[in-house]
Symmetry: C2
Subunit: 406 residues, 2 copies
């Protein structure tokens, strides 16, 4: 047995985080820790640091005025918790409140420099920033939808299609629900679009969309459906680090995001999905939704293809931003009133609008809803606390999905 343990030790040394492959190891610091009273403790080891702070969307927000091009606007930013140094240079902060069940992002700031939590393996990328993830699940709470349970799991695939509009292959994330592969049935399809900083991975990593789908379907609260996550920038093959651009840090690549290229090319995605998967290839079997820029995309894709989608969801939609001003495809943004009339004349099953009370886009969304109200067009509306944040987008998805394909 001694020989066995030596060999196993050698294996561990050889294969683990140390020795031959090996990089600096982590200490025994535990962070984050959800305490019995619901508070959360964050720890960061930095023996020589002067100041260590933590921030994340679990902290109460603070209003801050920012200025851009001489115009002032108010945004909300999460508060900051200051860690206190303890033994061994381990800094610690415990929230003075129970953190509500939800999924959060957080980072440390060490002497002014942003750091993720080195003791937390759960890391998401938000555009060009890495953030640590804190999930506080609780049975009976919505955040329980964001956790992985022992339920049948769908298949999550990274799939490439040829975009004639782009002139190259582009990457999609496709969710097929549990049972799809062994069924002969045709399935409805939901298309889910990201914001200006996102990509075809964003809804799966930050949005927990595939967990939400698995869980809603397992509970019988949503129909089994195929879900397609596109990349909303037609100039891109794929998410950063997943394309042939090589070793570049991601930036928000605006050139081809809100000027009509993506919307005008969208039918080729639907055509590809209908050719590749067993779909209900008609309006009654199709839904689309998106957050922020993706809500803007959703609106214009829907209006320009009034026979394509029976269900459309605009989450914190970036409408009224004036983006159409530089349209490469002006036809996409023209004759909105006429297109709205045509769209509603075809009696879509659902137009769903969700936005946060403090979202900087709420005014333009209110103006859009007033237009719908004035014309007597039907829609469902949800207003939540908070602003332009993933917390809200996960809520909207989990509210929208159960309404589909009934």
């Amino acid at each position: 047995m001694k020989k066995f343990f030596i060999a196993m030790a050698a294996l561990c040394i050889g294969l683990g985080a140390s020795a031959q492959q090996a990089l600096f190891g982590d200490g025994p610091v535990q962070s984050p820790v959800i305490n019995a009273d619901g508070t959360v403790t964050f720890r960061f080891q930095a023996p020589k640091a002067i100041k260590v702070e933590v921030t994340g969307d679990f902290m109460p927000v603070q209003k801050r005025e920012v200025e851009f091009n001489g115009n002032k606007m108010t945004v909300e930013i999460p508060g900051v918790g200051e860690l206190k140094e303890g033994k061994g240079g381990v800094w610690e902060y415990t929230t003075p409140f129970a953190v509500a069940p939800d999924m959060y992002n957080y980072t440390f700031r060490v002497d002014g420099v942003s750091q993720i939590d080195p003791h937390n393996m759960w890391v998401n990328r938000d555009v060009a920033s890495l953030t640590s993830v804190l999930l506080v699940p609780a049975a009976g709470e919505r955040s329980d939808l964001y956790a992985i349970h022992k339920v049948p799991h769908g298949t999550v695939s990274k799939v490439w299609y040829h975009s004639a509009a782009a002139g190259f292959d582009r990457r999609l994330t496709v969710y097929t629900p549990a049972g799809y592969e062994t069924s002969k049935a045709k399935y409805p399809v939901l298309y889910v679009l990201h914001g200006v900083g996102g990509d075809e991975d964003a809804w799966v990593t930050q949005g927990r969309a595939t967990q939400i789908l698995d869980n809603l379907i397992a509970r019988g609260e949503a129909k089994p459906m195929i879900v397609v996550f596109t990349n909303g920038n037609i100039a891109c093959e794929a998410a950063p680090l997943e394309n042939a651009d090589g070793y570049v840090n991601p930036t928000m690549r605006l050139p081809k995001t809100m000027e009509g290229s993506f919307e005008s090319a969208f039918p080729e995605v639907v055509k590809f999905i209908d050719s590749r998967y067993r779909t209900l290839a008609r309006k009654q079997g199709r839904a689309i939704c998106g957050l922020s820029m993706g809500g803007f995309h959703t609106l214009y894709i829907t209006l320009n293809n009034p026979d394509m989608f029976n269900y459309s969801g605009m989450f914190s939609a970036a409408i009224g931003t004036g983006s159409e001003a530089k349209a490469a495809h002006p036809e996409i943004y023209q004759d909105v009133d006429k297109k709205l009339a045509t769209y509603f004349s075809k009696k879509p099953a659902l137009l769903w609008i969700g936005i946060g009370k403090t979202d900087f886009l709420i005014q333009s969304n209110n103006e859009f809803r007033e237009k719908l109200n004035a014309a007597g067009y039907p829609y469902k509306y949800m207003e939540t606390d908070g602003g332009h944040i993933w917390k809200n987008w996960r809520i909207y998805l989990s509210e929208f999905v159960p309404l589909l394909f009934k």
Copy 2:
């Protein structure tokens, strides 16, 4: 236009790494930077730090004696580069040598505490440690296989199967080559197994296996094949953070890794794949390989199923470790000589063995090869520089794959 720019600014603020969602932003520090002369510069911002170092497998290795249970063994660890502080608290280190084209992991150590590179979005998890990734590609070099090129890409899927042996659903990564979905042909299957610290994601993230496959197939140097990456610990549903265990940091869970459970249950994986995919469901259409523990698994799965695989690859295989001593399924490890005789009597197309000159497992691999030599059993052998590291395992995979299904 002014209104447009204000709106876009609001979107950026709202959706990016700052403001409403918003966490501490990153500065303009660039790291890592591959310089024109092939050296690489690493930067880390830490205004109050006393000492900042970088290490990674691009550094020349140093030998170190380690002790475990009173036994001494020599391991190789990468050297350390010391950063110098410059303007704005930005520390910097440039390698005194051109870094050879390859894929590397690295981390910083700030006053003794391990940190990834906050300016590099490319992060891999190695068991319980996050490491930053540096890819130095170069046309004509092997590392060019690890880069993403504008070639047809296979589909990479996370797929769950029901394990009767485990009693629950388990997760696989499945690569289907470009063209699979639109073809009616049957495809051969390669099963690829990870080491004791890994999981069904490891070969895809650290091993760059799907890039290697895409590129070798696009060059015509490998046959199109389905590739299945299993999770080698039958006690686990899935990789850390991908299973119902919830919010736990990964550890090396040894209990059911090298005691026969995985090997004895392996035929159910093959059965599942043959039922789900269009496979050449016979020995001539099957290959298996694995690194370290996965090489050990490969050997015993092959020997216990002599009609199942025509090609077997042992990469730095953890044979001779005495793990069989605590077998839950002793039959897996019994009668090896007899099983070897049976296996070779059926004339498999290829047994392939690869190991590094300084791998701590080379002695047991040499002993195994001597046994094969003595019996006159044929095999192919590759010996590389270096030890028990991903650099070698990527080489072995890229050497093994072109030999399959010819």
